[in-house]
Amino acid sequence: MSKEAILSVVGLEAGYAMLPVLFNVSLNVFPGEIVAVLGSNGVGKSTLINHVVGMYRPNAGRVLFDGEDITQEKADAIVGRGLIQVPEGRRIFPNLSVQENLTLGAYRRGGKNIVANIERVYRYFPKLKLRHEQLAGTLSGGEQQMLAIGRGLMSEPKMIMFDEPSLGLSPLLVAEMFELFSRLRKDGLTILLVEQNLAQSLEIADRAYVLENGRNAISGTAKELLDSADVRKAYLGM
């Protein structure tokens, strides 16, 4: 791929208080790709996402989005640039209605195209339309995940980062979710997918990075990783 990366993470070092979590992590995502960041629980995947979107400040390293350095930028400004995360645990607003949740997804856009974008989200997730007046906290786990994704789409992002979207969902819903990611990519989005679920992630991803103990371990195309004896043995139990 000769195009310029839409997202570059270069030598990121990060942690919480006195506890270092990430050591010299680097990755690139090119426009239109689905890139998976894989690894077992506690390896620093969510920490990586949260430092990329400005929820926390990294100790060292740089984050470039769309050719600009966003390492020191605030979370709300980064949303405005078109980079959004769908966080682990969904983090929807339980005390607000489904429609209000979606409306707030467009908060940085100051209400532009809001009606059209809500309709677009309802086309992806017809179930949400049926429940648009319901409080988000009363939705099922799968519906809450749809709402979290829909809320992310409301910001008209160029790139979405999904943090463990399959967590707590039934296998059927997980399959639906992964299908949706392919659809979103077809519709022009770039996707970074953080997952513990290696097998399914590698089915839809173009490339993947495997993290171990907060460090880059293995990377390559999805096919290379699926064919790699190390990956198969360590993560796929084959």
Partner: protein
């Protein structure tokens, strides 16, 4: 029957006082609901606002009700600054720090007021303060009617802001899910400061409405903040409709209690209710919701 008339009179007076109590409590409950802060400085900020109105009237010759918009703006910035530059910085997100900062701010303000303006109790002298309106069953001072109507109007305005505007939605989102709010690009620290500002602006209005029917001295904040805390717990912490209902109820109980027990014991009823609520329904009459 004379006594029925007096009872009706005290019911009306109670509701009118209650609306202003509700305004003070609404600020407190809003701050608690969104920032999860017990703001001990609330009463002192009210006291400062009341002095502000007092001097605007006595030194500048402005009508107290005309000061409302100015006082609201001034108090908004006082609250905004308090959160952004004092609590936000020094609190470091720890409840104990924040508690002590608001308590400390209250002590500083109370003593500064004592130093600058002495402990004298001051009252406004305005020609329309003696005017009454005949409601048919009761003669009510104009000043109380203005306070009641203005407090209710402000309450409705606040409710509309919270329920219908983008800012209100952001405030409710931040109240329950600050992380998710940052994810969608809401500047949470700013919303905290704005909420503190709005909660404090309520005091600017309350001060202007209270001064013509009350008095001001450096301890006046305590009188109202105690009532406000009772109302906030009564109406479920963080629930602004609860603050209105709680405020009216407290005003009513105080006034009718005064009718039966005498002025000195009028407030006993409030605290009896408070204790009953804490014992049997500690979550308050409503559910907590900003």
């Amino acid at each position: 029957m004379l006594s029925l008339e007096i009872l009706l009179h005290s019911v009306v007076t109670g509701l009118m006082n209650g609306a202003v109590y509700a305004l003070v409590a609404m600020g407190l409950t809003l701050i608690f609901g969104v920032l999860h802060i017990i703001n001990f400085a609330h009463g002192s900020l009210l006291m400062v606002a009341m002095y502000g109105v007092f001097f605007a009237v006595t030194l500048l010759g402005i009508d107290p009700y005309v000061t409302i918009p100015f006082m609201m703006v001034l108090m908004y910035f006082a609250g905004y600054g308090l959160q952004r530059y004092v609590i936000g910085n020094a609190g470091q997100g720890r409840d104990t720090n924040i508690l002590l900062i608001t308590l400390g701010a209250a002590v500083v303000m109370d003593n500064l007021a004592l130093y600058l303006w002495t402990g004298d109790t001051r009252q406004l002298q305005l020609d329309y303060m003696m005017a009454v309106v005949d409601l048919g069953f009761a003669l009510i001072p104009v000043t109380r009617i203005i306070a009641f109507v203005a407090a209710c109007a402000l309450f409705v305005a606040m409710w509309l802001v919270i329920e219908r505007t983008d800012f209100g939605r952001a405030m409710r989102a931040v109240a329950k899910e600050p992380f998710g709010a940052r994810v969608v690009g809401i500047d949470v620290d700013r919303v905290y400061a704005q909420t503190m500002g709005i909660g404090t602006a309520c005091l600017g209005a309350a001060a202007a409405l209270l001064l013509p029917i009350f008095y001001v001295n450096p301890q006046i904040g305590n009188v109202f903040v105690l009532l406000a805390f009772t109302i906030v717990v009564l109406g479920s912490m963080g629930n602004i409709v609860g603050a209105l209902v709680g405020g009216l109820l407290v005003g009513l109980v105080e006034s009718v209690g005064g009718f039966f027990l005498g002025d000195r014991l009028g407030q006993v009823g409030i605290f009896v209710i408070f204790i009953l609520i804490l014992t049997f329904r500690p979550q308050g009459l409503f559910s907590a919701r900003v």
